[in-house]
Subunit: 471 residues, 2 copies
């Protein structure tokens, strides 16, 4: 096949024609409970990997399942269309993940998390399932685009390498080592990831800033057994009292994190960027209302977008200790625990945050308490360039699909692989995503709008043509 | 039977002779999992009540099971020996409870909590089971003494009323109303309760002060669903952050509780009492070592006994929220909870403590958080007189059994019925108990020393004779 004409309209028509089939395929993918955090779902993770390998193989990729100490990584290669010198073609590395968050609390799901449904919504139908948007639905956008190109033209117009992992939700412990050990397998011109969001339902976006993360668990032990709170109350260290006193000190009254050195590497927002973001018209009251709140939270004196995209955070993700069943039990618990994670911005260094946390805790640990900090891993914040032909191709693809230029936005979340792809493979990343803020990511009733699945597939199809045109 | 001689030596010999039988009877009682806090053990609570009714009936009591909105109350009457004018006999009201604490965490028990064992210990054998000392073993001391009197002399030398409930571990919600509605059924000269401790293994004690209690649960809700901590971190209220910040303020750096009005009604210890307690030679380092600690805790500048017997406390008994499973989940939880209870002293008023707590929380609730406080009930502190013939009878019984005078001690725990018996029935209470500090009350591997069971039964047997002699 030679690109003497632009087959994009036919490819898009094929996408429009194949919606039922695309729904069935995605539902099959979503039905696999590939929960990476839970060891008893390891078999499901492998099954999800195999599903992806098979699907991409059916549209012309050479795929292989690569074992790791954890869940397998799927690597695939499409060498470009026949009769074209591969070296002349742009080469993208598409990264995605097939693992999903745990589904609990199960009782809050309106339909079972691994029995995908297409249900009516306020602005059209949506798919409801764990992983619908994070990340299976968005990987499926790319897959659908590839299948449409394959069915229309016999193949893809550029070179594509696939890097699909199964541990993103648990910190990608094995990914960096795999990438470092397989650089020649994974070389490309630019990376492409679909795991972020649109500005709103009708306005596309490219994400140019991601926060970093550090995730820890704090374990505090006091007495060597649970105690009667009458016998020992007032005389023995109470680990829950101690832990709450320490954690209560994490923020001052202006919402600033009190860990030593925490703000090192955090720069003030450049005025031009602040002005750009202010011009986006972000509706904070609507965002708060969508989660049942009316009052802003976080650092005082900062705009909502600044707090979500450009300021670091400390969030307790879980806490437990003592008697948590029904009724009363007059116990002083032997131990108490908390899961504490941080979002990083700018040049904040994960190792420095961990050291600061340990110092913060050590300065506050009461006599008799033993504190241990478990490090579940971390990665720094990332900024991607807004210049260059690849991001311009993405801007063009999105502008044509949606009739308006994409917003260049930040993201409060973290995608650690972006930093790894740059550091290990020298790749910038196009972050072109199709999620929406109300998709309930990491929550019960996670959903993916049908219009986003369709628009995402069409956008990816357009992008492949735009990239081919760079040749 | 007429008391023209003192049958105490024969009764004691009967106790010594019947140890195997007494072990079997207590084991039968301990094997009933009468956990009042857990509704699926309601049938077991009724079974434990029936066991007591049957056992006391077999030694001459007229017993009945009285239904309540909760677990049944066993009432029994022994009218005194034949041929003696009951009005001439001292009349005690024996109170006990047949319900027990929940057994969790189960994995820390060395033997199953409801399969009682007699196991070797550092200073002799002990019975291990939930309820072994709190309170079944100690009720069994009294029962064993009654059976020995019955087997030796055909009956008891005084009048006895039994009041045995099944909700002590969950706040005795139905007891006060029952007592108030049955005053004539329960009238007596003095009450007797065996649910406290000895000073040490060889030194008996009478407890003369008990702390009061208030037990609450705090529920804090923020967003109306769990949120992704990347998307919303820094912008949305985090209920666990909020709850720990509030609870971290409960104590100042000297260990004083910061609830408004908390110390109203708390008096300084009279110097004479402080001197008395100092003279008891309490071994604080040994107490701390027995629970795996070396450093004291609680209010600075107060002795250990003062902190445990004469100062109020605020203890978090449980805390939970968010993701508490294995690994990492980057969630901002929708809600967070804590169980918080207080021990009261002096004239502290439970209602005032609740009001102070609500004010403390209201002053610290951040915008957007909803806080609810559940009141699981409360009772004020109690002091019993150290003067009078009844307590003198108890002092004499214990002195003769142990060869030394009993210590008049405080207790950090609460026995709310003592206040109710005074207020409703005008009764003082003899608090003559046989527990030891290392009995693991409310913890896994709760035990009751065989020497305490035996000594407790013998002491109760002696007490019955001493009381009869008051006639």
């Amino acid at each position: 096949m030679t690109l003497t004409y632009d087959p994009t309209p036919e490819v898009l028509a094929e996408i429009d024609r194949s919606q039922d089939e695309a729904r069935h395929r995605l539902f099959d993918f979503l039905a696999i409970p590939s929960i990476s955090a839970q060891p008893d779902h390891a078999g499901d993770c492998a099954a999800a990997a195999r599903w992806l390998a098979h699907e991409f193989a059916s549209v012309g990729f050479a795929t292989e399942m690569r074992q790791t100490p954890g869940h397998p990584i799927v690597v695939g290669h499409y060498p470009g269309p026949d009769g074209v010198d591969p070296a002349s073609l742009p080469h993208i590395l598409f990264y995605g993940h097939y693992d999903v968050q745990p589904a609990d609390p199960l009782d809050l799901w309106e339909s079972p998390p691994f029995e995908p449904q297409l249900v009516p919504g306020p602005q059209g139908p949506r798919i409801v399932a764990r992983g619908a948007v994070d990340d299976k639905g968005q990987v499926a956008c790319f897959l659908w685009a590839c299948r449409a190109w394959y069915n229309t033209t016999g193949g893809l117009p550029i070179r594509v390498t696939l890097l699909l992992e199964g541990e993103e939700e648990v910190g990608s412990a094995n990914l960096e080592a795999f990438i470092a050990a397989n650089k020649s397998l994974l070389k490309a011109d630019v990376a492409l990831i679909s795991d972020t969001g649109m500005w709103d339902r009708t306005t596309p976006a490219l994400t140019t800033r991601l926060r970093g993360m550090v995730y820890t668990q704090i374990d505090l032990v006091g007495p060597d057994k649970d105690l009667h709170s009458g016998m020992y109350g007032g005389a023995a260290l109470n680990p829950i009292n101690a832990l709450t006193k320490i954690l209560g000190d994490l923020h001052d009254d202006q919402g600033r994190v009190q860990i030593p050195g925490f703000y090192k590497g955090v720069d003030e927002l450049p005025p031009s960027l602040a002005a750009q973001w202010a011009g986006l018209g972000f509706d904070e009251p609507a965002m708060l209302a969508s989660i049942g709140l009316t009052d802003p939270a976080g650092e005082t004196g900062r705009s909502a977008l600044e707090r979500m995209w450009a300021r670091p955070t400390a969030d307790l993700n879980g806490i437990w200790g003592g008697y948590i069943g029904a009724g009363a039990k007059t116990v002083i618990a032997s131990h108490a625990h908390a899961k504490l994670s941080f979002r990083l911005v700018g040049k904040q260094d994960p190792a420095a945050i961990m050291a600061g946390l340990k110092q913060f805790l050590a300065e506050r640990t009461p006599a008799g308490a033993q504190i241990k900090v478990q490090d579940f891993g971390g990665n720094p914040a990332v900024e991607v360039s807004t210049e260059g032909p690849f991001i311009a191709a993405a801007e063009a693809a999105l502008s044509e699909e949606y009739g308006k230029a994409p917003v260049l936005m930040g993201c409060g979340g973290s995608i650690p692989v972006v930093g790894t792809l740059k550091a290990q493979l020298g790749l910038d990343t196009i972050l072109m995503g199709f999620g929406l803020d109300d998709d309930q990511v990491h929550s019960p009733n996670e959903k993916f709008e049908w219009s986003c699945y369709l628009g995402g597939a069409r956008s990816h199809a357009r992008l492949l043509a735009k990239l081919a045109a760079l040749r």
